[in-house]
Amino acid sequence: MNINFTLIAQAIAFAVLIWFTVKFVWPPLLKAIETRQKEIADGLAAAQEGRSALEVAAKKSEVTLAEAKQKASEIIAQAEKRGTQIVEEAKGNAKVEGDRILAGAKSEIDQEVNRAKEGLRAQVSALAIAGAEKILRKEIDAKAHSEMLSKLAAEL
């Protein structure tokens, strides 16, 4: 247990070792570890960001889907409405057309009936005149009565 020059030698050795560690050993290790820590932190932050972005996108897609569904149902409702409208219109048109055709047919029938009546009237008057002629041939002058008869025929 005697203190001697070894003390100084050891102190110098210690100082040199400290200098060596401060200068050459600690900094590269610190740099490597801190860089890795930063990289890991960045990675985790990026993952978190990605997760939140995914959440936002999912929400957005949900909203868009809901919107699309609503729009589709709106379009379908509109189309149905339009369809019934078209059907109604067609029905109305058909009715009008039918009525028109019916009216046309009726008037034609009326005309035909009138024409037939006219024909019949003429024939009846002719027959009546012929009959009357036959009856009256002996008694009446044809000439004298024909004017009156034709007048009669026209009145029929």
Partner: protein, 277 residues
């Protein structure tokens, strides 16, 4: 002839001669007067070699340290680094990376390596040394069981402590603190303050160095006693081997613990120097 014979007799296996031989340093006088100018070659060579090996190995890893996926070796070094860094972070709240944390790493690893020399069987070391240097060659393998080593470390820390105290507080601030802390600034408590600080400044390096020295020295002596027991015969050999194994295992704890305590005290002292009262 006679003296040589006496010398041999003295170095024959008597317990005191055995222990004395194992506890003697390989002391080389640096000049004629010797005295203070003596170097313990064994202590110095062992400690420097261990320092170079340990810090060199760490440096080899640190030099190629990558921020990417680390190798297993780098992971181990980073484990040690993180352990030291955490300890320092809890005690010292400043820029620890510029000096205090690397110093703590140096102290821990170096002291740990020097303490670990205690695991080398005492008589193997003596055997190897006497094979190369002759029967009377002396070589102590554990540098930390030399008071010069522990005192050198503690004194270096002490000087750093004063250096940082002056650097942080200024010379005036340091002197002011010597006289005005911890009892107050009134002039009549100045002597008490100064005495208090003086005792603190003296006791710090003494307790710092003697704790480590005492532990390692006592450990070595117990190994020597067990080794001596082994010389008494078969029973002693078996008992000595069993107890020696037990003491070695317990000593693993002491070696690590003393290195850790020495490192922690270093950090605490340096951190205290940075703080004002």
């Amino acid at each position: 002839m006679a003296t040589e014979h006496a010398d041999n007799a003295q170095h024959a296996l008597t317990p005191s001669a055995y222990i004395e031989h194992h506890l003697s340093f390989n002391a080389q006088p640096l000049n004629e007067s010797a005295g203070f100018w003596t170097l313990h070659v064994d202590t110095f060579v062992m400690s420097v070699a261990l320092g170079l090996i340990v810090m060199g190995l760490i440096w080899l890893v640190a030099r190629k340290a990558t921020a990417g996926v680390p190798t297993k070796t780098q992971a181990f070094v980073e484990l040690v680094f993180g352990f030291i860094d955490d300890q320092v972070k809890n005690i010292f709240h400043g820029n620890r990376h510029s000096f205090i944390a690397p110093t703590a790493l140096t102290v821990f690893l170096w002291v740990f390596a020097m303490n670990s020399m205690d695991f080398l069987p005492v008589d193997w070391v003596a055997g190897i040394v006497s094979f190369f240097g002759g029967e009377h060659a002396k070589w102590r393998a554990v540098p930390t069981s030399d008071i010069n080593t522990t005192f050198a470390l503690a004194l270096t820390v002490w000087i750093l402590m004063i250096f940082f105290a002056i650097k942080v507080k200024g010379f005036g601030g340091w002197i002011h603190e010597l006289f005005c802390a911890p009892f107050g600034t009134k002039i009549w408590v100045w002597p008490a303050n100064f005495m208090f600080n003086l005792i603190e400044y003296v006791s710090k390096p003494l307790s710092h160095s003697l704790r480590l020295f005492g532990n390692m020295y006592a450990g070595e002596v117990i190994f020597l006693l067990l080794g001596m027991w082994a010389a008494t015969g078969l029973t002693g050999t078996i008992a000595g081997a069993i107890l020696g194994a037990g003491w070695s295992i317990f000593h693993i704890l002491i070696v690590a613990l003393q290195a850790f305590i020495f490192m922690m005290l270093t950090v605490v002292y340096l951190a205290m120097a940075h703080e004002g009262h």
